[in-house]
Point group: D2
Chain length 317, copies 4
């Protein structure tokens, strides 16, 4: 189904050089559909404040709560509106090889610059199966592989990565297993993005990571840009830590969703099974914003402590 | 779900000025998936030879044989690769209002410049139902309505068009009911595209139509461009008539699919229920090409009489 | 994907003997989902009052407004709850051969007794294409073919039927082209169901039709049963005519939907593009009910003239 | 969308009494579609040899590699053909609450006797989110909740189960966290099925579990029936252990798929990302069968060591 159009070709090298990639939030309307106006505003903030890439429909963007047609549409929309200003990396991974193939074909067809692929979570497979899974999608275009055992229930061992790294489309790995693993890869010439905001400063400056795929940058893109580009800066890193700790007290993107609603940049709407953080946490967030400085956060409205009744949870959409 | 991005806004007036819109063919691979390389080549030929717009996934492009995710993907792909050079009009119509709403939302989200909407074929509805159907989609962006009773089993009467024509997004009508109907509209300031290649010359030059949505232009875009732009030209019109007659002896796009395969610009693959024209007709086509001049047709290969065995018919894909 | 389970096997001969088949209405909840409680009640009325078969998701049941998973679910539900008492014929036809294949495989897998297949409406195809389309689905199980040119825009000529009639699964044709066509078939040993309630009495008693696929029997199953089983009865036929005329003044199932809501057996909810008949017609219906006798109609509530505001029209569901 | 049909009502108490539930394998044709003939044969073996329930489309049945329409179809098919002889429990769980709601509604509509629900794997959520997720589906019918942190990345703590156990539809928990957890539940009156074949004997006879949801019973249903019904039998349990160890050396259902192919009861076809066990393991399996006795295994053919080339791996289907 390949297209040879120039507009559909991005080199792996271009992807390999990205330092700040934001796993962008997907905002919703009260009936659970996408809120594209809010999405576009979030994208602008990312571009203006220095993000070089976005993951569309990642776990942060709740790709697992989308139908595939919604997901591909959002990738196509992002490419069409912002593809000239930022690299669009579609999370077209799946625990079903068929779905990963189908979504990746469609994602590249609508112009995404790279794909993010996960190992088969929940269903899992053997190491041979992992290699077969990744090989089924690697020929389509630049690809980042994502390792997050706390979600998938299965570590992708370096041997599997070495095996698929021969493919010219392999751009690198988004790794959550810590900085020893990061170093192991970067010593061997494999490009790594930290998948943990709390470790990314050290990953980048001490362990050879090229950058980060960040959740926190949805909130403070400028500070995360500085953290990745401005040289070693343990002081900034420390200042960010309370925010990062707060964000990940419950499974992501629960904290992020709550925070963006409090900042007034998205409507306070959750697709189940996500529910907002409780009031006590929401009060904490206001304090964190004040501590770090409202001006460092996205949006212009005053940060608010939302009431329980302000939130809409949608199960059918 | 609205996006306010500049890249997603096209005015109805821009659409109203298009004279040559090609209802572009969708080519296939042997397993029935889209052949995007061939598609992109067809798109280039259209752009170079003067088409100003394309209908993606129209009846000619076999939108009714696509899943909606394929369909939206093809619209997004076309916008991404060619949207700067040609207007992309997605056939996001359906006999189901729900599907028409959903597809149009998605089509505009991925950047299509306008939607083509059909009245509910097969299921049909009352005149009040027709108005409700069109009103459900008109607010999303520039819209062309398509009237083809020989397919839908139901004429859209002028009263319905008058009623929806108030909407600023209404661009005009693709009309197949003949030149009296065309004149009736153009006398009243409603933009019309002829939906019949055999009538379009007269529609354009004698009855006020702005142009044509053409099937024939898939094959001879340059000649159709001349027919729409070059002034009244009954001689050219007559010269084209044998080709046009040949194309529509069986329901479109059977003739077109057969012709493009014979010209070597698409693989000889049909999604059922379409099957190629029989050998006798294929021989006739070679003669028609010689008569009109191979150089006027798309592609560079010699025109061929394909054998029955050359064709692949796919039912599962 | 074939199953050989006894429970999944019905002979074509069993299907060929059915005289009263109701094209059953699909009722909805206010959010547009199926109202299975109301549906089950309608099914009971059909069974008790003598219908021997139902078409699930026909044009009357608005199969064209369903997703395929809804459609197959409804077939499976009907088989599971009522398959011992009535023959379940799934409308798994489509203008896309792929969809017809897929839906028919699934429908037979969940136990439907026969499939109803339409020629490719809207997209249309050649006579060779028609044969290829029907052959692609006939091997799966007992099949009724449906000819309704006023909806499809294309007549299925007897030559096509002759060609597919050799298949042991071919049960017969639901024909809307009038009694001359009916006679042409029945003279040649082909089983015919009338597809027109206003002609079915004569089709059955004068032209050899085995019975009817009826819309009207949704309302007056007992009377339709008498019409098909009770011997020639022009008087009953005449008595029914005002109701039948009323039902088809707008494209079916607009009249039926309005009537069932007025009888209080379904909620007054329409999936667009269908909208209710206007008030004047609703008043007429009350008179027709009184004339024919409320006791002959389904349900127990008094017939009502509903107000415009009583109706809910849903476009997103 | 509720149906009140008697055929669609099963009490939670009926579900609570099942001792041997097989997580049934889904067999495939060479093109990746379901092989219903083989499936029906597997179902017969289960019924004849004493299984009282089946999980359709569980992780063993590769529900995560199905489209939802395939999945619901398989549930409907199983109910229709075997629902009178065995309880059909559809795995209509998902990490997306929307999908879990939709699939459960459809599964109950086509007659499944109970639903199996998983906590949101991969995406995960907070404890409040878990409760909201389960509450969104519990009202539809009898429900078993499944806890398998090695797949989901998140334990369902007893507090969450206590919270949802008030619902009359809560039948019990399929628990993989070991026998201390099992005892904790059974001491408190909560029904438990062991989710680990290697622990199920002890769970049943020493820790109060009602029975097992078994993978191994696909192969040796009679022995597993004896293990659950025949009284404490450490000798039988020990005899089964080599088979059970062999089955779970790679993530399930890799071992099971390989074994059933070697026994000649399913075609040697894998949907990716699953791939067969390597030759050395396949040789081991033949020895295990001989040791336990071929007559205790399903099927009648001689057990075979299949060659690598005998297997077909499908990625597109």
């Amino acid at each position: 189904m390949r297209s040879l159009e120039v507009k559909n070709r991005t080199s792996s090298d271009t992807i390999k050089s990205l330092r700040l990639i934001t796993a962008i939030k997907t905002p919703y309307l009260p009936d659970g559909r996408f809120d594209l106006e809010a999405y576009d505003a979030l994208m602008h903030m990312q571009i203006v404040q220095g993000a070089e890439g976005v993951i569309v429909g990642g776990t942060t963007g709740e790709g697992h709560l989308m139908t595939w047609d919604e997901h591909i549409m959002l990738i196509g929309h992002t490419v069409n509106c912002f593809g000239g200003s930022i690299k669009v990396i579609g999370n077209t991974g799946s625990n079903s090889t068929r779905e990963a193939i189908h979504a990746s074909e469609q994602g590249f067809a609508v112009g995404m610059h790279a794909a993010l692929h996960i190992n088969p979570y929940y269903g899992k497979t053997s190491l041979d199966g992992l290699v077969s899974h990744f090989e089924a999608v690697l020929n389509m275009g630049p690809t980042i592989i994502y390792n997050v055992p706390s979600r998938t229930g299965q570590d992708i061992p370096p041997s599997v990565i070495q095996s698929v790294a021969q493919n010219a489309n392999f751009a690198g790995i988004k790794e959550c297993m810590g900085n020893d693993r990061v170093k192991d890869y970067t010593d061997n010439g494999i490009v790594v993005w930290s998948g943990n905001d709390d470790q990314c400063h050290d990953s980048r400056w001490d362990f050879g990571a090229v950058g980060v795929v960040s959740v926190t940058s949805n909130l403070v893109p400028g500070l995360m840009q500085k953290l990745m580009f401005g040289g070693k800066d343990p002081s900034l890193n420390s200042k960010l830590m309370p925010l990062i700790d707060w964000l990940f007290r419950e499974p992501n993107p629960i904290g992020l969703n709550t925070a963006l609603a409090q900042l007034g940049v998205v409507r306070p709407i959750f697709r189940l099974p996500y529910v907002p953080l409780p009031l006590a946490r929401r009060i904490e967030f206001v304090d964190i914003v004040k501590e770090l400085g409202r001006e460092n956060f996205v949006g212009e409205k005053e940060v608010q402590v939302l009431e329980d009744d302000d939130f809409i949870l949608v199960g059918r959409y």
